[in-house]
Structure formats: structure tokens, C-alpha cells
């Protein structure tokens, strides 16, 4: 009598989790041999006549000296951010994370997205000051040195621009990489001092309902944040993935508001003023107040809602023939942990649950994976995420019904609207080419 695992190994249909080749995610979890057996039975190349292995030159000579600060291999030179303003013209400047060339959940510091509105200031950390004042009992001034002596906390948090994914407001799918579409989101471990700790020292006047955060950059970028967030999980971050914050990410200190739109995470932070009312600064009054189809506009959106996108395969990649592939992507929610990610290979007709890489952290990138056997025919790959609060990533139809879409495509670097979190779909053609499609 055949045991069930034998049947798994021989009967590929038993591994199917959903249509068009999706395989049960449990095949990924400690059952690699079973999967290999199922996929490779009798189709592996013969070993006879294989090229003998030779020593390469690098194995026969002493290598390079050890640098003080190491950088990636020269063979990885294409793994870089894309720049919206490479000639440093007098306007803002974006750099986007190359998600399609990365794996895991941590964005390397050199590849973390940045948006700066007046260049990157060169701040002398010894002269930088942070003041907390306004509706407090005692206004206080902090230096980087004094802040560095406070009890620290570390947390992994994504930061996402409120305008990330804005090309998806286009009425037709823009043929762009996941870097161009979703590259204004990154995830790092941030270490610093809880803002609530510092507010214990200044004291809070009960009239204070908001605080205004301001940077030391040339636009003195300023945002209003509810006191509620200050007392929850706001942090004055001093370190990014273990080292001092990168200049473009706010050196020497930035406000970190886990789950809130990137622009509110004020960089080069120099001032926090507690106030009764929001200041209605430019970026809250204009930029991050998205226009709705009825002509009104949302204000104080703040939250980066539950989202996911497949990073591999994705636009610009070409599958090299039928066979086993791993569908992999990123999911996150500004509300909390990712509960589950469902993946479809048939345009949303059937779905299977993806494996989530542990640990699944609140307001952090979560890597999902799904084994898939491409049969060489057309396929449409989708991912859809749920968070622990029950929020679900909307379908494109649901999203457009609520938020509208543009009448015609906008330039890919434009921010025609904000806070897009619907499903991204990749169409795989019979030639293996991956296109961006709306499914």
C-alpha cells in the first residue's frame, strides 16, 4: 500500500494548491526532498560527460586587501537605486529601492529609498540640536551625545512614501519595474529613543493634542502629528540597521512613526513643538491630501495601509522555460502584522496561501513565498495581503471604485495621487516575458 508521501512524490496533482501551477506552500517548509521528487522525477540531466571542475584564477592567488568599510561585489553594480533628479536640479529628488534585485526583508542602507526636498544637508553631529518645546512644562534641548546616553529601543519598521505606487493610478498598466512602481518603500531596523521617554522629561500640557516636527534641511520640512502617536510608538531614531542613519535618511536623527506615511517621519529632526491644533503645513495641506473622485479630498491620511507585491517574477524579467519557480514578494501593513498573503497564478480565479517568512513583525516587511510550476502557458500572477486587524488589500476594481483613477497615464516619476495599496498583477507570456497587467 502506498503511503501518502509516496503519493505526493509521484502524483503532482496532489501538491496543487490553486490553478495554473501553484503548489502547496508546505512544500517549501522542510519538505524540499518531497518537492524535488515531485518536480524532478525522471527529468534531471544525465551526469555522464559533465565538464570537469577546474580551479578559477581567484582560487590560485591572494585576493584583495580588506577595506575599512566594505561595499558590494563589483559584479553587483546594477543593484542600485534609480534617481529622479540625477543632475541635482532645484527641485526634490527621489531614489527608489530595487526590490526586484533584493531578497529577504531588510533593505540595505545604501539602497534605502530617499526623498529629499532641498538636497541632503551635511550636518555636523556635534552641532546638531533637538529642541522640544511649546505646550510642555519644561522646554528641553538635546544633543546627539546626550540622546545617545538614553535607554535605546530597536524595532524593525518599513518606511513608505505616501506617494509610493502612484503610477498604479494610471488607467492602463505602466510597463515599469517593481522598483519604479513600488520603490519608495524600504524596511530597516531603527534604534533610538522613544519620543514618549523625552516627553516624560519635558512634561506635557494637557492642552497639547498635536506636535509639529521640523527638520534642519533647507525646506525646514515640517509635519503635524497627533500626540497619540507620540505616546504610542514614535521614536527619535539614531541608528539604521545598526549604524548611524544614512545622510539621505535623516542623519544624525529622524522621527520614526512606524506605519505612517514617510513624509511624516521627519528627517534631520531639530524641533518638536507641542501644539493644540495641526499647523496645516504645506505637505499636510497640499501634497498628502489626496483628491477623491467626488472632488473632495482626504486629509490626515497618515496610515500606510495593507499592501503586497510580487518582486519575483516581475516586470522586466524573463522566465527561462517551463519548470519550477518560486514566486516571492513583500507584504506589510501600517496597522500591524501581516496575517496572510494569498497568491494567484490565473488572474485571481483561484488562490493559494503563501508561506510567510518568520519572524512576522508588526509594521515591517514580511517576505512571502509560493512554489509555482510554470507550464509554459500564459499566467497572471497576483498577491493579496491581509493584516492582523482584518484589513485586506483591495482589488483594483474595489480601489478604483473608491479612489478613482487618472484619465490618462501620468509620468512614472509624477505623484498624481497618493496612498495606493491595491493588487499588482504580472502577466507571464508564453515566451516567458513578464508584463505589468491589470487583472
Amino acid at each position: 500500500m502506498a503511503r501518502s508521501s509516496d503519493r505526493d512524490m509521484r502524483g503532482q496533482t496532489l501538491e496543487a494548491a490553486a490553478g495554473n501551477g501553484l503548489i502547496n506552500r508546505r512544500a517549501l517548509l522542510g519538505r524540499g526532498m518531497v518537492l524535488a521528487g515531485a518536480m524532478g522525477a525522471g527529468v534531471g540531466p544525465a551526469a555522464a560527460g559533465a565538464e570537469p571542475l577546474a580551479d578559477e584564477p581567484w582560487s590560485l592567488e591572494v585576493g584583495d586587501p580588506t577595506p575599512l568599510y566594505q561595499v558590494p561585489s563589483k559584479f553587483e553594480a546594477k543593484v542600485v537605486r534609480t534617481l529622479s533628479n540625477p543632475n541635482h536640479e532645484p527641485r526634490n529628488s527621489h531614489s527608489r529601492t530595487p526590490h526586484h534585485l533584493l531578497a529577504g526583508t531588510t533593505t540595505p542602507n545604501g539602497l534605502h529609498f530617499t526623498i529629499n526636498h532641498g538636497g541632503i544637508p551635511t550636518i555636523d553631529p556635534d552641532r546638531h540640536r533637538l529642541v522640544i518645546h511649546g505646550l510642555v512644562k519644561r522646554p528641553l534641548e538635546f544633543t546627539l551625545e546626550t540622546l545617545s546616553r538614553y535607554p535605546m529601543t530597536s524595532r524593525v519598521s518599513f518606511v513608505e512614501c505616501g506617494g509610493n505606487s502612484a503610477p498604479m493610478f494610471s488607467p492602463e498598466p505602466m510597463q515599469e519595474t517593481v522598483q519604479a512602481l513600488h520603490g519608495l518603500a524600504s524596511c530597516a531596523e531603527w534604534t533610538g529613543v522613544k519620543l514618549s521617554t523625552l516627553l516624560e522629561e519635558t512634561g506635557i500640557d494637557p492642552k497639547a493634542k498635536w506636535f509639529v516636527a521640523e527638520g534642519a534641511d533647507s525646506p525646514h520640512l515640517s509635519r503635524s502629528v497627533p500626540i497619540k502617536k507620540a505616546l504610542d510608538d514614535a521614536m527619535i531614531a539614531l541608528y539604521q540597521n545598526g549604524e548611524r542613519i544614512m545622510p539621505g535618511n535623516g542623519y544624525p536623527m529622524r522621527l520614526l512613526l512606524p506605519g505612517y506615511e514617510g513624509n511624516m517621519n521627519v528627517k534631520f529632526l531639530r524641533r518638536i513643538k507641542l501644539v493644540e491644533q495641526p499647523a496645516m503645513s504645506y505637505y499636510e495641506a497640499r501634497t498628502y491630501s489626496p483628491i477623491l473622485p467626488n472632488g473632495k479630498a482626504y486629509r490626515f491620511y497618515f496610515l500606510q495601509e495593507v499592501k503586497s507585491f510580487i518582486t519575483s517574477p516581475s516586470y522586466g524579467q524573463t522566465l527561462k522555460g517551463p519548470g519550477l519557480y518560486e514566486i516571492s514578494g513583500i507584504a506589510y501593513s501600517g496597522t500591524g502584522r501581516i496575517e496572510k498573503v494569498m497568491v494567484s497564478a490565473d488572474g485571481g480565479q483561484s488562490w493559494a496561501q503563501a508561506a510567510l517568512q518568520e519572524p512576522v513583525l508588526s509594521k515591517a516587511f514580511t517576505r512571502f513565498r509560493m512554489p509555482w510550476r510554470w507550464n509554459g502557458g500564459p499566467a497572471t500572477l497576483l498577491s493579496r495581503a491581509w493584516d492582523e486587524s482584518g484589513n485586506v488589500q483591495p482589488t483594483r476594481a474595489e480601489f478604483v471604485a473608491a479612489r478613482g483613477q487618472l484619465e490618462k497615464p501620468a509620468p512614472v516619476l509624477a505623484f498624481p495621487n497618493q496612498h495606493y495599496n491595491s493588487i499588482t498583477s504580472w502577466g507571464v507570456g508564453s515566451n516567458g516575458e513578464v508584463k505589468h497587467v491589470y487583472a
Binding site: P139, F142, R271, V275, K296, A410
Partner: protein, 177 residues
């Protein structure tokens, strides 16, 4: 048992008792600073006018400053150039953010003053006097027909300017405020 930690703890309790302030169990490395010392940095303006400085300006004065310091980017008469238009009668039709103007979108007049003072001119922020910022704000409001051509803008008059789109916003997540 005597430990350094206990000594510090006792000392902080003693300090709290002496000053009558309830000091939290935090390092207290913050240096007290008075508002006068912060004044130069304290450039936040609230929609009710809180924080607006002394000084004033007229549209006519603003027109001269605009021509000299703003038009290279924002175009003649505020019609737009390499930077956005600051004078426009465009109506919003559809959801594209490119249509947002001061007149059709910005809800509070103080936002204009606040942004000019903290961020403009792009190449020389914080170089304008408060009078110049009032004058530029007056010029932009007057060219947009939101105030009269001769109205003076100052800490009393500016917050009273009614912006057409003021009541057209929906708070997205009220439970986060």
C-alpha cells in the same frame, strides 16, 4: 545595600521632593532652554494665526519682490515655470494632484506664509524678512482674487482670509487623531 544605582535613584527622589516636580525615571540629560532662545527656530504658524510674527506687507510690495526672487522658477505673474504656478483659476476635474493650486486646494491662508518663510526661495531659504513674506503672501492672495489689490496682510488680517476649499476635506482616519 548601597549601590550607585540606588544612590542616583535616591538623589532623584530627593531632587523631586525639593523642586516639587515629579521627575520621571529617565536620564534627564535634556538641557532646559527658554522660548526666547528657541525663537529663531520657532517658525510654525497655526491656521488661527498663532505664531505669526510682527510685520506686514501689501500686494504691490510683494509684486516687486516676486519679480526679483520668485519669477525665475514660478514664472511671470505666478503663472508657473520650472516650479508650480502660484496664481491660477484652474478648477479641479478628476483626481490628478497636478491640478492642485493655492486657490482651488489650500484650505488655510497661513499655510502660504508658513511655507514661503521656511522653504523659499529654494536656493536661499530663511533669507526673506517677515515683511517680505507678508508682502509675497499678499501678492499671491491678491493675484488669485482672494483679497483686494490693496489689502495689507499682517498677523491679524492673514488668518481671516477665507480660502475657497477650506471645508472640502474629509479626515481619513479620525481614530488616529
Amino acid at each position: 545595600m548601597f549601590t550607585p544605582e540606588r544612590a542616583i535613584f535616591t538623589a532623584s527622589l530627593l531632587l523631586a521632593a525639593m523642586t516639587g516636580v515629579s521627575l520621571a525615571e529617565t536620564p534627564n540629560f535634556g538641557k532646559p532652554i527658554d522660548e526666547a532662545a528657541i525663537a529663531n527656530w520657532d517658525i510654525s504658524i497655526l491656521p488661527d494665526g498663532t505664531g505669526l510674527p510682527k510685520g506686514s506687507g501689501t500686494p504691490a510690495r510683494g509684486a516687486a519682490i516676486y519679480a526679483e526672487k520668485c519669477s525665475a522658477c514660478h514664472g511671470d505673474s505666478g503663472k508657473g515655470g520650472i516650479a508650480a504656478a502660484v496664481v491660477s483659476d484652474k478648477k479641479i476635474d478628476g483626481i490628478s494632484a497636478a491640478q492642485k493650486t493655492i486657490k482651488n486646494f489650500i484650505g488655510d491662508s497661513t499655510t502660504i506664509f508658513d511655507f514661503i518663510r521656511r522653504a523659499m526661495p529654494f536656493q536661499a531659504p530663511r533669507s526673506l524678512t517677515d515683511d517680505e513674506v507678508y508682502a509675497l503672501t499678499a501678492y499671491i492672495l491678491a493675484e488669485n482674487k482672494l483679497i483686494g489689490a490693496n489689502e495689507v496682510m499682517d498677523a491679524q488680517t492673514l488668518p481671516k482670509v477665507k480660502m475657497p476649499n477650506h471645508d472640502n476635506f474629509i479626515i481619513r482616519f479620525p481614530d488616529h487623531i
